[in-house]
């Protein structure tokens, strides 16, 4: 194998690259806590006279708490729904039944339809369902993701057939087998579902933009965009808002990095 000494060229490239990748994070953080006038040139590289008052201002200038709670609610709904619905579908796909091929084909072809190709009718459907301007209306399209269905399927497929068979012999009803035998053993799939659903619904902007009219139903990305359009280049509180909006996503990412990556590369490993 290569000796450690030959590693330094790699570090020589990767360290500047890492710094480049981290600069935007640092810059927004510095802008949010610096005491200087951020609209004056030249900007200082380090935060001068750091303070947290921009965060106070962001909190009060706009209903941050409302946006935050709305986002949490939407994400919570989406996560619970996804776990139930996708695990159920994934489990169903471990059986052999007539029409399984067709169902798989439907799922796979739905994967080819990006959300952006559906916004107009999706909006009209939401209107017809009476869900415009509601949190449920925001969350509903997020209730199921096909990639998660396949992740659950793979997870269930990997479990020994004897397990559900034995339970069936014991007369345990099917729904109980799913909930109490199979699902607890698919914990990695559940973790992946939670993380991916969180990231996708938390960051979602276009759909809430279409569906929401009022401030008190807005989610965080929507609120952030609204803050930008109201206050634009007049206050550093915007960047405090940005930092506050990013923190939960980063937190979830660090807590469940492995599951996140595994979920995303599920497609890569197949093909």
């Amino acid at each position: 194998m290569r000796s450690r000494n030959a590693d330094w060229p790699v570090h020589l490239i990767l360290i500047p690259v890492s710094i480049l990748m981290l600069v935007p994070f640092y810059w927004v953080l510095k802008t949010s806590i610096t005491g200087e006038n951020i609209f004056a040139y030249p900007p200082s590289i380090l935060p001068s006279d750091p303070h947290l008052f921009n965060y106070v201002e962001a909190w009060y200038s706009i209903p941050f708490a409302t946006y935050f709670i709305n986002s949490i609610l939407v994400v919570f709904l989406a996560i619970v729904a996804n776990i139930l619905i996708d695990a159920a579908a994934g489990y169903a796909l471990t059986f052999h039944f007539r029409g399984k091929r067709l169902i798989m084909l439907i799922y796979l072809s739905c994967m080819m339809i990006p959300f952006q190709a559906t916004i107009i009718p999706a909006y009209l459907i939401t209107v017809n369902l009476g869900l415009v301007n509601t949190l449920l209306g925001i969350a509903l399209p997020h209730f199921s993701h096909i990639i998660l269905i396949f992740i659950f399927k793979a997870s269930f497929d990997a479990l020994p057939r004897s397990l559900p068979e034995a339970a069936r012999m014991d007369g345990v009803p099917e729904w109980r087998i799913l909930l109490q035998v199979m699902l607890p053993l698919a914990r990695p799939a559940i973790a992946t579902s939670v993380v991916l659903t969180f990231i996708w619904s938390w960051n979602d902007f276009l759909w809430p933009l279409i569906v929401v009219r009022d401030d008190d139903v807005s989610t965080l990305p929507l609120g952030l965009a609204r803050f930008l359009s109201y206050f634009e280049d007049t206050t550093a509180a915007l960047y405090a808002f940005v930092v506050m909006a990013l923190v939960p996503g980063i937190l979830v990412f660090f807590l469940a990095q492995r599951q996140f990556i595994e979920g995303l590369t599920a497609g890569a490993r197949k093909g």
């Binding site: 303070h51 008052f53 106070v56 201002e57 009060y60 007049t234 509180a237 937190l251 807590l255 469940a256």
Partner: protein, 134 residues
């Protein structure tokens, strides 16, 4: 499934949530204990003597505008006290006829109605106005 498995209690997700929850509760408790909106300070003249009867004005400062909220008169010892000021970003000015005017004092708080005591008094002077820190 009787007790919650140990692994579920002591993994980093639960700990993170617990810490966050503790921080939220702790912060809210702190805020609740200190949000009577009591703002106190003292008015002195350029010689350092307490000035009674000076009018101290609170102005709320937001990104969009400044809005005068109210005023109070300092007592004989120069001390003034606002209650339930309701602000998180404000400017104080003091003035008294014949003695002078103070430079505007910009105060930023961490939450609305935070109790706050000025560290240095408001100095009335007739001359130049140097912005003072708080």
């Amino acid at each position: 499934m009787g007790t919650i498995p140990r692994q579920m209690l002591i993994n980093r997700v639960t700990i993170t949530f617990a810490v966050i929850l503790a921080l939220i509760v702790g912060w809210n408790a702190y805020v609740a204990a200190n949000n009577d909106g009591v703002l106190t300070g003292q008015v002195v003249d350029s010689g350092g003597r307490a000035v009674g009867g000076a009018k101290v004005t609170i102005t709320a400062r937001t990104v969009a505008h400044d809005l005068e909220i109210g005023s109070i008169v300092s007592g004989d010892d120069g001390v003034f006290r606002f209650e339930k000021h309701g602000q998180y970003n404000l400017v104080l000015t003091a003035e008294k006829d014949g003695v002078g005017k103070s430079a505007p004092r910009h105060i930023r708080l961490y939450f609305r109605n935070q109790d706050f005591a000025l560290e240095t008094p408001l100095v009335l002077s007739t001359g130049s106005t140097n912005a003072q820190g708080s």
